[in-house]
Amino acid sequence: MTDSGLAANRISFAYGSRARAGQDSSAEVLDDVSAFVPRGGLVGILGPNGSGKTTLLRLLAGLMRPSSGRIVLDGVDLHTIPRSTVARRMAMVPQETQLAFDYTVLEMATMGRYPHLGAFEIEGPEDLAIAREALTATGTHHLASRLFNTLSGGEKQRVVIAGALAQRPDILLLDEPTASLDLAYQLEIRSILQKLNRERGLTIVVSTHDLNFAASLCRELVLLHQGRVLAAGATGSMLEPALIRKLYGVDVDITANPRTGHVTVIPVARAHEAPRT
């Protein structure tokens, strides 16, 4: 089936009052954006700060409605599907999670069971087993009884991913999952996501501004620039110096890393400072 997956069909979006949308296109965060995430895909939304990545991700998750265009999940308009049904199919990992209350790691993971339970239903042994399994999958099971607030940034992010996995989704959306993490944690998150995609067939969408993270993780990229799609396609064909220059305003060298086989992007200079060749 060609329409099996998550699609954005010519969506536009502006923050603020919805009445304003369409009148002043300059206020739009997204302008006529189309993108497709195939089932089992590993897609990156790549772009500089303020390009609309997070907004696109939130729209794909159904957290907001586009002012025009449609988000389509397996051929069905996302906003015609009940929220709890969507939540059993798609999970979202926000950029950063700050807690005001001292939930334990296990409690954080167990909250992912919410869409599977009735209004007054209490998580049973099966739900706890699913939550524990999700913690194992992200390598955080040994932290189960710790307080979430006492964890390091990388541990927190993995626990939040476990909470999303406990929802048992087919599609996982992550907003800048490595933005505040150091190198070792970035590699760790990357290998967890690759494994989930490969072994469980989980469809994964990540927004990121990090070229090398995107290059080493994603099979396909959507390049977002000032709320419009600059280009989209297989990762290899997206990492062209000319496209990157347009996307970030930076001149880059692109080489294949001999050890990993991934494409590696090395920024050289701001485009306007670059020597003419």
Binding site: R58, L63, M90, D102, T104, E107, Y114, I122, G124
Partner: protein
């Protein structure tokens, strides 16, 4: 222990503690009575002095304490989750200042005759609290699709100062007796000597608690973040509305019954969290029962410590609660 069992045990333990305190508190006072004689069915009620003191003289006041304490503690929990701020209190959003303004106007204008048999002060204070809620709610909804918790917080704090200024201004113009009565009201007072005020406050409180029943699991998710709650299928806007309106209604009714008794709404939830953790399915019922027990105990101290002089109960809770609050601020930081 499974989650269901922990919830059951929490209800039982804290429920028994609250009922126990409510049964023991009426035994304490100038005339000492015995629980056995109170419930001795062989003596008719008209001749049973112990039962009369228990049921007529002391129990209404104890039940008022339980109702007020339970409402304030539970509202504190709900508002702390809504504002994602463990330092929020039931009075943060202006409800108590509105109630105080209403009560003060009734006291100053000397509306002692009352309306339809009810005395005017609780009615005016309840009306004042509803007015404050309406203003804060209206502001937080204006220009937002949902409920802006930032505007909620700022509007509440501003309204608190504004109403306090109005109260001070009217006090400045009033005579000494009226001023003293207002100040006394602000200290909190559970001097309830019949069941009628309880009956008047009970319906709004019952309505709020019915709303509280559906909130705990949603509040767990909401207190993590709006976005993750929404992505898990929580209707964030309706949950925020329900939380704000039900907590405000319970607070307004509690304040109209017992005055703005401070610190219950913050001390009790924190103590409870130290005991049961952060899950709102445990924190909310435990705080409701714990708040009842705490205020009834404080009120027993207030009416016996300096007997026959009665220390205002709000002074007792503040003397216990203030230092505790300061300790919370520096703990683990």
């Amino acid at each position: 222990m499974s989650i269901a069992r922990r919830i059951l045990v929490t209800w039982l333990l804290f429920g028994v503690a609250a009922v126990g305190v409510c049964l023991l508190a009426p035994l304490v006072g100038s005339t000492s009575i015995s629980l056995l004689r109170v419930f001795d069915s062989s003596v008719p009620f008209a001749e049973n002095a112990d039962a009369q003191i228990f049921f007529v003289a002391r129990l209404p006041r104890v039940l008022a304490g339980a109702l007020v304490g339970s409402s304030l503690a539970a509202s504190g929990v709900v508002l702390q989750a809504l504002l994602r701020n463990p330092l929020a209190t039931p009075f943060t959003l202006g409800v108590s200042a509105g109630a105080a303004l209403g009560a003060m106007l009734a006291l100053t204008l000397d509306l002692s005759s009352g309306i339809a048999g009810f005395s005017a002060v609780p009615i005016a204070s309840f009306a004042g609290s509803l007015g404050a809620v309406a203003i804060v709610y209206g502001l937080a909804r204006a220009r937002h699709r949902g409920l802006s918790t930032n505007v909620l917080l700022l509007a509440g704090v501003t309204l608190n100062s504004f109403f306090s200024a109005l109260i001070l201004f009217v006090q400045f113009l009033s005579d000494f007796t009226q001023t003293f009565r207002t100040v006394r009201w602000l200290m909190g007072d559970l001097d309830v000597s019949s069941y009628a005020p309880l009956m008047a406050a009970a319906p709004p409180i019952a309505l709020s608690f019915a709303a509280f029943a559906v909130l705990p699991r949603r509040m767990n998710l909401l207190s993590v973040s709006d976005e993750s709650a929404a992505s898990r299928g929580v209707d964030v806007h309706s949950t925020q509305r329900l939380a704000f309106l039900s907590a405000s209604l319970a607070t307004g009714a509690a304040v109209s019954l017992g005055g703005p008794v401070g610190f219950i709404g913050i001390v009790v939830p924190h103590l409870i969290r130290l005991m049961v953790g952060a899950d709102h399915r445990l924190v909310l019922p435990a705080s409701a029962f714990g708040g009842a027990a705490f205020l009834v105990a404080c009120d027993t101290v207030s009416r016996t410590a300096l007997a026959p002089l009665e220390v205002p109960v709000g002074v007792v809770t503040a003397i216990i609660g203030g230092p505790f609050f300061l300790w919370l601020l520096i703990k683990d930081r």
